[in-house]
Amino acid sequence: MLKCALAICRKDLTLILSRNAGIMQALLLGLLLVFLFSLSLNTGDALSPQAAASMFWLATAFCQVLIFNMLYASEELCGARSGLLLLPAPVQSVWLGKSLAGLLLIMAAQCVFIPAVFVFLGQHLADGFLPALAGIVLGDLGMAVSGSLFGALAAGRSGRESLLSIILFPLLVPLLLAGVRLASLGIDPDPLPGDPLRWIGLAAAFDAVFTAAGLLLFPFVYTGDES
Protein backbone atom coordinates (compact mmCIF):
# COMPACT_ATOMS: atom_id res chain seq x y z
CA MET A 1 0.00 0.00 0.00
CA LEU A 2 2.78 2.42 0.96
CA LYS A 3 4.68 1.68 -2.26
CA CYS A 4 1.61 2.46 -4.37
CA ALA A 5 0.89 5.58 -2.33
CA LEU A 6 4.43 6.84 -2.88
CA ALA A 7 4.14 6.09 -6.61
CA ILE A 8 0.88 8.07 -6.81
CA CYS A 9 2.45 10.93 -4.86
CA ARG A 10 5.46 11.00 -7.19
CA LYS A 11 3.23 10.85 -10.27
CA ASP A 12 1.04 13.73 -9.06
CA LEU A 13 3.96 15.92 -8.06
CA THR A 14 5.68 15.29 -11.40
CA LEU A 15 2.50 16.18 -13.30
CA ILE A 16 1.75 19.30 -11.30
CA LEU A 17 5.27 20.65 -11.13
CA SER A 18 5.92 20.02 -14.82
CA ARG A 19 2.74 21.87 -15.82
CA ASN A 20 3.45 24.60 -13.31
CA ALA A 21 0.18 26.47 -13.95
CA GLY A 22 -1.98 24.92 -11.23
CA ILE A 23 0.39 25.38 -8.34
CA MET A 24 1.08 28.95 -9.43
CA GLN A 25 -2.66 29.73 -9.24
CA ALA A 26 -2.82 28.39 -5.67
CA LEU A 27 0.27 30.35 -4.65
CA LEU A 28 -0.91 33.56 -6.26
CA LEU A 29 -4.36 33.30 -4.67
CA GLY A 30 -2.83 32.93 -1.20
CA LEU A 31 -0.37 35.76 -1.78
CA LEU A 32 -3.12 38.00 -3.14
CA LEU A 33 -5.24 37.36 -0.04
CA VAL A 34 -2.38 38.37 2.27
CA PHE A 35 -1.52 41.40 0.14
CA LEU A 36 -5.12 42.61 -0.23
CA PHE A 37 -5.64 42.34 3.51
CA SER A 38 -2.55 44.46 4.08
CA LEU A 39 -4.32 47.28 2.20
CA SER A 40 -6.68 47.64 5.17
CA LEU A 41 -3.75 48.93 7.25
CA ASN A 42 -2.70 52.55 7.47
CA THR A 43 0.94 53.38 6.68
CA GLY A 44 3.20 52.18 9.49
CA ASP A 45 0.47 50.15 11.20
CA ALA A 46 0.96 46.46 11.99
CA LEU A 47 -1.82 43.92 12.10
CA SER A 48 -2.47 42.17 15.42
CA PRO A 49 -0.60 38.83 15.55
CA GLN A 50 -3.87 36.88 15.81
CA ALA A 51 -5.32 38.59 12.71
CA ALA A 52 -2.07 37.98 10.82
CA ALA A 53 -2.13 34.31 11.84
CA SER A 54 -5.76 34.12 10.67
CA MET A 55 -4.81 35.53 7.27
CA PHE A 56 -2.01 32.99 7.00
CA TRP A 57 -4.36 30.07 7.65
CA LEU A 58 -7.06 31.53 5.42
CA ALA A 59 -4.57 31.74 2.55
CA THR A 60 -3.52 28.15 3.31
CA ALA A 61 -7.14 26.94 3.35
CA PHE A 62 -7.91 28.45 -0.07
CA CYS A 63 -4.65 27.05 -1.37
CA GLN A 64 -5.64 23.63 -0.01
CA VAL A 65 -8.93 23.69 -1.94
CA LEU A 66 -7.17 24.52 -5.21
CA ILE A 67 -4.44 21.94 -4.62
CA PHE A 68 -6.81 19.04 -3.93
CA ASN A 69 -9.07 19.97 -6.82
CA MET A 70 -6.02 19.95 -9.01
CA LEU A 71 -4.76 16.62 -7.62
CA TYR A 72 -8.03 14.81 -8.35
CA ALA A 73 -8.76 16.66 -11.60
CA SER A 74 -5.70 15.16 -13.30
CA GLU A 75 -7.41 11.73 -13.44
CA GLU A 76 -10.90 13.09 -14.14
CA LEU A 77 -9.82 15.14 -17.14
CA CYS A 78 -8.48 12.13 -19.03
CA GLY A 79 -10.85 9.52 -17.62
CA ALA A 80 -8.08 7.68 -15.80
CA ARG A 81 -9.86 7.12 -12.52
CA SER A 82 -10.40 3.43 -13.21
CA GLY A 83 -6.64 3.12 -13.74
CA LEU A 84 -6.06 4.21 -10.16
CA LEU A 85 -8.84 1.98 -8.88
CA LEU A 86 -7.28 -1.03 -10.59
CA LEU A 87 -3.99 -0.60 -8.74
CA PRO A 88 -2.88 -3.82 -7.01
CA ALA A 89 -3.33 -2.18 -3.60
CA PRO A 90 -6.18 -1.07 -1.35
CA VAL A 91 -8.00 2.00 -2.67
CA GLN A 92 -6.86 3.85 0.44
CA SER A 93 -3.41 4.01 -1.14
CA VAL A 94 -4.88 6.60 -3.56
CA TRP A 95 -6.07 8.65 -0.59
CA LEU A 96 -2.67 8.32 1.09
CA GLY A 97 -0.75 9.17 -2.08
CA LYS A 98 -2.86 12.26 -2.75
CA SER A 99 -2.57 13.26 0.93
CA LEU A 100 1.22 13.07 0.75
CA ALA A 101 1.36 15.06 -2.48
CA GLY A 102 -1.09 17.63 -1.06
CA LEU A 103 0.92 17.89 2.16
CA LEU A 104 4.13 18.64 0.29
CA LEU A 105 2.44 21.20 -1.96
CA ILE A 106 0.74 22.95 0.97
CA MET A 107 4.07 23.12 2.83
CA ALA A 108 5.77 24.50 -0.27
CA ALA A 109 3.07 27.16 -0.60
CA GLN A 110 3.47 28.08 3.07
CA CYS A 111 7.18 28.69 2.48
CA VAL A 112 5.97 31.62 0.36
CA PHE A 113 3.09 32.69 2.63
CA ILE A 114 5.19 32.92 5.82
CA PRO A 115 7.59 35.59 4.48
CA ALA A 116 4.57 37.37 2.93
CA VAL A 117 2.91 37.57 6.36
CA PHE A 118 6.08 39.06 7.85
CA VAL A 119 6.57 41.53 5.01
CA PHE A 120 3.03 42.65 4.14
CA LEU A 121 1.42 42.40 7.58
CA GLY A 122 4.33 43.79 9.59
CA GLN A 123 4.99 40.82 11.88
CA HIS A 124 8.13 39.80 13.78
CA LEU A 125 9.32 36.45 15.08
CA ALA A 126 8.62 35.88 18.80
CA ASP A 127 9.71 33.36 21.41
CA GLY A 128 6.88 30.91 20.83
CA PHE A 129 7.98 29.83 17.36
CA LEU A 130 8.35 26.16 18.34
CA PRO A 131 4.64 25.68 19.22
CA ALA A 132 3.85 27.70 16.07
CA LEU A 133 5.94 25.30 14.01
CA ALA A 134 4.22 22.31 15.64
CA GLY A 135 0.85 23.95 14.84
CA ILE A 136 1.84 24.42 11.20
CA VAL A 137 2.99 20.80 10.82
CA LEU A 138 -0.12 19.38 12.52
CA GLY A 139 -2.38 21.83 10.69
CA ASP A 140 -0.89 20.87 7.33
CA LEU A 141 -1.29 17.20 8.14
CA GLY A 142 -4.96 17.70 9.02
CA MET A 143 -5.54 19.73 5.88
CA ALA A 144 -3.88 17.04 3.78
CA VAL A 145 -5.87 14.08 5.13
CA SER A 146 -9.23 15.91 5.14
CA GLY A 147 -8.56 17.60 1.77
CA SER A 148 -7.72 14.26 0.18
CA LEU A 149 -10.95 12.67 1.44
CA PHE A 150 -13.27 15.50 0.41
CA GLY A 151 -11.32 16.33 -2.75
CA ALA A 152 -12.26 12.84 -3.96
CA LEU A 153 -15.87 13.58 -3.06
CA ALA A 154 -15.97 16.75 -5.16
CA ALA A 155 -13.94 15.33 -8.07
CA GLY A 156 -15.74 15.41 -11.38
CA ARG A 157 -18.63 17.57 -10.15
CA SER A 158 -19.64 20.86 -11.67
CA GLY A 159 -18.59 23.73 -9.42
CA ARG A 160 -16.25 21.43 -7.54
CA GLU A 161 -14.16 24.27 -6.04
CA SER A 162 -17.16 25.84 -4.35
CA LEU A 163 -18.56 22.44 -3.35
CA LEU A 164 -15.26 21.44 -1.75
CA SER A 165 -15.05 24.80 0.05
CA ILE A 166 -18.53 24.66 1.55
CA ILE A 167 -18.08 21.07 2.74
CA LEU A 168 -14.49 21.39 3.93
CA PHE A 169 -14.28 24.81 5.60
CA PRO A 170 -16.84 24.19 8.38
CA LEU A 171 -15.15 20.88 9.18
CA LEU A 172 -11.77 22.59 9.36
CA VAL A 173 -12.85 25.06 12.06
CA PRO A 174 -11.20 23.24 15.02
CA LEU A 175 -7.97 22.86 13.07
CA LEU A 176 -7.99 26.48 11.93
CA LEU A 177 -8.60 27.73 15.48
CA ALA A 178 -5.73 25.62 16.79
CA GLY A 179 -3.51 26.74 13.90
CA VAL A 180 -4.33 30.42 14.41
CA ARG A 181 -3.75 30.31 18.16
CA LEU A 182 -0.45 28.43 17.82
CA ALA A 183 0.77 30.55 14.90
CA SER A 184 0.02 33.75 16.81
CA LEU A 185 2.34 32.50 19.58
CA GLY A 186 5.18 32.56 17.06
CA ILE A 187 4.67 36.21 16.14
CA ASP A 188 3.24 37.71 19.32
CA PRO A 189 5.80 39.17 21.76
CA ASP A 190 3.06 39.38 24.42
CA PRO A 191 0.98 36.22 23.79
CA LEU A 192 -2.43 35.55 25.31
CA PRO A 193 -2.34 33.26 28.35
CA GLY A 194 -3.14 29.62 27.68
CA ASP A 195 -1.45 26.28 27.40
CA PRO A 196 -0.21 25.66 23.84
CA LEU A 197 -0.14 21.92 24.53
CA ARG A 198 -3.96 21.85 24.65
CA TRP A 199 -4.12 23.35 21.17
CA ILE A 200 -1.44 20.96 19.93
CA GLY A 201 -3.49 18.11 21.41
CA LEU A 202 -6.62 19.39 19.67
CA ALA A 203 -4.85 19.62 16.30
CA ALA A 204 -3.44 16.11 16.80
CA ALA A 205 -6.94 14.83 17.67
CA PHE A 206 -8.30 16.40 14.47
CA ASP A 207 -5.54 14.72 12.47
CA ALA A 208 -6.33 11.36 14.12
CA VAL A 209 -10.11 11.68 13.52
CA PHE A 210 -9.75 12.61 9.85
CA THR A 211 -7.01 10.05 9.21
CA ALA A 212 -9.40 7.40 10.55
CA ALA A 213 -12.28 8.94 8.54
CA GLY A 214 -10.13 8.91 5.40
CA LEU A 215 -9.12 5.27 5.83
CA LEU A 216 -12.69 4.16 6.54
CA LEU A 217 -14.71 6.38 4.20
CA PHE A 218 -12.46 6.78 1.16
CA PRO A 219 -13.47 3.45 -0.46
CA PHE A 220 -17.11 4.66 -0.44
CA VAL A 221 -16.23 8.08 -1.82
CA TYR A 222 -13.80 7.14 -4.59
CA THR A 223 -15.46 4.48 -6.70
CA GLY A 224 -15.80 3.58 -10.33
CA ASP A 225 -19.58 4.07 -10.60
CA GLU A 226 -19.18 7.70 -11.49
CA SER A 227 -21.02 10.04 -13.83
Binding site: L163, I166, I167, V173, P174, F206, F210, L217, F220
Partner: protein, 235 residues
Protein backbone atom coordinates in the same frame (compact mmCIF):
# COMPACT_ATOMS: atom_id res chain seq x y z
CA UNK B 1 -43.65 2.81 13.22
CA UNK B 2 -46.90 2.34 11.23
CA UNK B 3 -49.25 5.11 10.14
CA UNK B 4 -51.53 4.95 13.18
CA UNK B 5 -48.47 4.96 15.48
CA UNK B 6 -47.16 8.07 13.74
CA UNK B 7 -50.58 9.73 13.98
CA UNK B 8 -50.75 8.87 17.70
CA UNK B 9 -47.25 10.30 18.27
CA UNK B 10 -48.18 13.46 16.35
CA UNK B 11 -51.38 13.83 18.39
CA UNK B 12 -49.45 13.29 21.63
CA UNK B 13 -46.94 15.87 20.42
CA UNK B 14 -49.71 18.40 19.75
CA UNK B 15 -51.26 17.86 23.18
CA UNK B 16 -47.88 17.98 24.92
CA UNK B 17 -47.10 21.19 23.04
CA UNK B 18 -50.35 22.74 24.27
CA UNK B 19 -49.51 21.70 27.84
CA UNK B 20 -46.08 23.23 27.43
CA UNK B 21 -47.59 26.61 26.52
CA UNK B 22 -49.42 26.55 29.85
CA UNK B 23 -46.28 25.47 31.71
CA UNK B 24 -44.12 28.12 30.02
CA UNK B 25 -46.47 31.09 30.29
CA UNK B 26 -48.46 30.29 33.46
CA UNK B 27 -46.72 27.70 35.64
CA UNK B 28 -43.05 28.71 35.33
CA UNK B 29 -42.14 31.85 37.30
CA UNK B 30 -40.89 34.91 35.49
CA UNK B 31 -37.15 35.39 35.68
CA UNK B 32 -36.27 38.56 37.61
CA UNK B 33 -33.60 40.04 35.36
CA UNK B 34 -34.68 38.98 31.87
CA UNK B 35 -38.44 38.94 32.41
CA UNK B 36 -40.63 37.49 29.65
CA UNK B 37 -37.68 37.18 27.25
CA UNK B 38 -36.29 34.34 29.38
CA UNK B 39 -39.26 32.19 28.25
CA UNK B 40 -37.46 31.69 24.93
CA UNK B 41 -35.11 29.35 26.80
CA UNK B 42 -37.91 26.74 26.99
CA UNK B 43 -37.98 26.60 23.17
CA UNK B 44 -34.29 27.15 22.55
CA UNK B 45 -33.05 24.24 24.70
CA UNK B 46 -35.29 21.49 23.22
CA UNK B 47 -34.67 22.75 19.69
CA UNK B 48 -30.91 22.51 20.26
CA UNK B 49 -31.08 19.06 21.83
CA UNK B 50 -33.36 17.51 19.23
CA UNK B 51 -31.41 19.17 16.44
CA UNK B 52 -28.26 17.47 17.72
CA UNK B 53 -30.15 14.17 18.07
CA UNK B 54 -31.25 14.54 14.42
CA UNK B 55 -27.66 14.88 13.26
CA UNK B 56 -26.74 11.88 15.41
CA UNK B 57 -29.51 9.88 13.71
CA UNK B 58 -28.20 11.03 10.30
CA UNK B 59 -24.70 9.81 11.27
CA UNK B 60 -26.01 6.43 12.45
CA UNK B 61 -28.16 6.06 9.31
CA UNK B 62 -25.15 7.06 7.20
CA UNK B 63 -23.02 4.33 8.78
CA UNK B 64 -25.81 1.79 8.24
CA UNK B 65 -26.13 2.84 4.60
CA UNK B 66 -22.39 2.52 3.97
CA UNK B 67 -22.36 -0.94 5.58
CA UNK B 68 -25.62 -2.42 4.28
CA UNK B 69 -26.21 -0.36 1.11
CA UNK B 70 -29.96 -0.18 1.69
CA UNK B 71 -31.69 2.94 0.24
CA UNK B 72 -33.95 3.29 3.27
CA UNK B 73 -31.00 4.19 5.51
CA UNK B 74 -29.95 6.96 3.12
CA UNK B 75 -33.55 8.20 3.08
CA UNK B 76 -33.54 8.25 6.89
CA UNK B 77 -30.26 10.21 6.90
CA UNK B 78 -31.75 12.73 4.43
CA UNK B 79 -34.88 13.14 6.52
CA UNK B 80 -32.88 13.50 9.76
CA UNK B 81 -30.62 16.16 8.23
CA UNK B 82 -33.61 18.13 6.92
CA UNK B 83 -35.41 18.05 10.27
CA UNK B 84 -32.12 18.75 12.07
CA UNK B 85 -31.51 21.78 9.85
CA UNK B 86 -34.95 23.19 10.69
CA UNK B 87 -34.31 22.67 14.41
CA UNK B 88 -30.76 24.03 14.16
CA UNK B 89 -31.94 27.15 12.28
CA UNK B 90 -34.58 27.79 14.95
CA UNK B 91 -31.93 27.20 17.65
CA UNK B 92 -29.74 29.87 16.09
CA UNK B 93 -32.65 32.28 15.72
CA UNK B 94 -33.85 31.84 19.32
CA UNK B 95 -30.24 31.93 20.56
CA UNK B 96 -29.67 35.22 18.76
CA UNK B 97 -32.82 36.74 20.29
CA UNK B 98 -31.66 35.54 23.72
CA UNK B 99 -28.15 36.99 23.13
CA UNK B 100 -29.59 40.34 22.06
CA UNK B 101 -31.77 40.60 25.13
CA UNK B 102 -29.31 39.18 27.63
CA UNK B 103 -25.92 40.36 26.36
CA UNK B 104 -26.89 43.25 24.06
CA UNK B 105 -25.54 41.65 20.85
CA UNK B 106 -27.13 39.46 18.19
CA UNK B 107 -24.10 37.20 18.09
CA UNK B 108 -21.22 36.39 20.40
CA UNK B 109 -18.49 33.77 20.62
CA UNK B 110 -20.25 31.34 22.91
CA UNK B 111 -19.11 27.72 22.49
CA UNK B 112 -22.66 26.34 22.16
CA UNK B 113 -23.85 29.00 19.73
CA UNK B 114 -20.69 28.62 17.67
CA UNK B 115 -21.00 24.84 17.62
CA UNK B 116 -24.63 25.16 16.47
CA UNK B 117 -23.59 27.51 13.66
CA UNK B 118 -20.76 25.25 12.51
CA UNK B 119 -23.18 22.29 12.57
CA UNK B 120 -25.58 24.34 10.46
CA UNK B 121 -22.81 25.00 7.91
CA UNK B 122 -21.69 21.35 7.84
CA UNK B 123 -25.19 20.05 7.15
CA UNK B 124 -25.96 22.89 4.73
CA UNK B 125 -23.01 21.44 2.80
CA UNK B 126 -24.69 18.03 3.04
CA UNK B 127 -27.89 19.47 1.52
CA UNK B 128 -25.88 21.23 -1.22
CA UNK B 129 -24.18 17.94 -2.07
CA UNK B 130 -27.51 16.13 -2.10
CA UNK B 131 -28.89 18.61 -4.64
CA UNK B 132 -26.04 17.90 -7.10
CA UNK B 133 -27.03 15.97 -10.23
CA UNK B 134 -25.62 12.44 -9.92
CA UNK B 135 -26.86 8.84 -9.73
CA UNK B 136 -28.96 8.15 -6.64
CA UNK B 137 -26.74 5.42 -5.19
CA UNK B 138 -23.64 7.55 -5.66
CA UNK B 139 -25.29 10.55 -4.03
CA UNK B 140 -26.40 8.43 -1.08
CA UNK B 141 -22.85 7.16 -0.50
CA UNK B 142 -21.29 10.62 -0.66
CA UNK B 143 -23.94 12.17 1.59
CA UNK B 144 -23.52 9.33 4.10
CA UNK B 145 -19.76 9.95 4.19
CA UNK B 146 -20.36 13.67 4.88
CA UNK B 147 -22.94 12.87 7.59
CA UNK B 148 -20.47 10.55 9.35
CA UNK B 149 -17.43 12.85 9.05
CA UNK B 150 -19.52 15.89 10.03
CA UNK B 151 -20.80 14.31 13.22
CA UNK B 152 -17.32 13.01 14.11
CA UNK B 153 -16.14 16.63 13.96
CA UNK B 154 -18.77 17.93 16.43
CA UNK B 155 -16.84 17.22 19.70
CA UNK B 156 -13.73 18.85 18.23
CA UNK B 157 -15.71 21.93 17.17
CA UNK B 158 -17.21 22.29 20.64
CA UNK B 159 -13.88 21.74 22.38
CA UNK B 160 -12.06 24.22 20.15
CA UNK B 161 -14.77 26.87 20.58
CA UNK B 162 -14.59 26.44 24.36
CA UNK B 163 -10.78 26.57 24.43
CA UNK B 164 -10.82 29.69 22.25
CA UNK B 165 -13.28 31.41 24.52
CA UNK B 166 -11.79 30.31 27.83
CA UNK B 167 -8.85 32.70 27.68
CA UNK B 168 -11.25 35.65 27.94
CA UNK B 169 -13.19 36.62 31.07
CA UNK B 170 -16.29 34.45 31.24
CA UNK B 171 -18.97 37.11 31.48
CA UNK B 172 -21.79 34.61 31.06
CA UNK B 173 -20.87 32.43 34.00
CA UNK B 174 -23.71 33.87 36.08
CA UNK B 175 -26.30 31.96 34.02
CA UNK B 176 -25.01 28.63 35.28
CA UNK B 177 -26.48 29.21 38.73
CA UNK B 178 -29.18 26.55 38.36
CA UNK B 179 -32.93 26.63 37.73
CA UNK B 180 -35.88 26.87 40.09
CA UNK B 181 -37.83 23.63 40.39
CA UNK B 182 -40.78 24.97 38.36
CA UNK B 183 -38.42 26.13 35.64
CA UNK B 184 -36.62 22.77 35.55
CA UNK B 185 -39.96 20.91 35.33
CA UNK B 186 -41.10 23.18 32.50
CA UNK B 187 -37.79 22.76 30.63
CA UNK B 188 -37.97 18.95 30.98
CA UNK B 189 -41.60 18.94 29.77
CA UNK B 190 -40.65 21.10 26.78
CA UNK B 191 -37.81 18.75 25.85
CA UNK B 192 -40.25 15.83 25.96
CA UNK B 193 -42.92 17.71 23.97
CA UNK B 194 -40.46 18.76 21.28
CA UNK B 195 -39.33 15.13 21.10
CA UNK B 196 -42.92 14.11 20.41
CA UNK B 197 -43.08 16.69 17.62
CA UNK B 198 -39.63 15.78 16.27
CA UNK B 199 -40.31 12.04 15.95
CA UNK B 200 -43.44 12.25 13.73
CA UNK B 201 -41.75 14.99 11.66
CA UNK B 202 -38.80 12.68 11.06
CA UNK B 203 -40.99 9.68 10.21
CA UNK B 204 -43.26 11.66 7.87
CA UNK B 205 -40.30 13.21 6.05
CA UNK B 206 -38.63 9.76 5.83
CA UNK B 207 -41.76 8.31 4.23
CA UNK B 208 -42.07 11.26 1.86
CA UNK B 209 -38.46 10.81 0.73
CA UNK B 210 -39.11 7.12 0.05
CA UNK B 211 -42.34 7.90 -1.83
CA UNK B 212 -40.59 10.55 -3.90
CA UNK B 213 -37.94 8.05 -4.96
CA UNK B 214 -40.57 5.43 -5.83
CA UNK B 215 -42.47 8.01 -7.91
CA UNK B 216 -39.25 8.93 -9.71
CA UNK B 217 -38.69 5.23 -10.47
CA UNK B 218 -42.24 4.87 -11.83
CA UNK B 219 -41.81 7.94 -14.01
CA UNK B 220 -38.49 6.70 -15.37
CA UNK B 221 -39.99 3.26 -16.08
CA UNK B 222 -42.88 4.86 -17.99
CA UNK B 223 -40.53 7.04 -19.97
CA UNK B 224 -38.51 3.96 -20.86
CA UNK B 225 -41.72 2.11 -21.90
CA UNK B 226 -42.79 5.03 -24.08
CA UNK B 227 -39.40 5.15 -25.77
CA UNK B 228 -39.31 1.44 -26.64
CA UNK B 229 -42.23 1.26 -29.17
CA UNK B 230 -40.79 4.25 -31.02
CA UNK B 231 -37.50 2.46 -31.41
CA UNK B 232 -39.28 -0.66 -32.68
CA UNK B 233 -41.24 1.39 -35.27
CA UNK B 234 -38.06 3.01 -36.45
CA UNK B 235 -36.47 -0.42 -36.83
Amino acid sequence: MNRSGTAAAALAGGLAFALCQWLVFVYAPEERVMGQAQKIFYFHLPLAWWGLVSFGVACAAGILHLVKRLPRHAQLADAAVEVGMVFCTLTLATGSIWARHSWGVWWTWDPRLTTALILWFIYAGYLALRSMPMPRARRASLCSAVAVAGFADVPLVFLSARLWRSIHPNVFAAQGGGLETEMAVTAAACVLAFGLVWLPLLIIRYRQTGQQERLDDVMLARMADEDDPTEENED
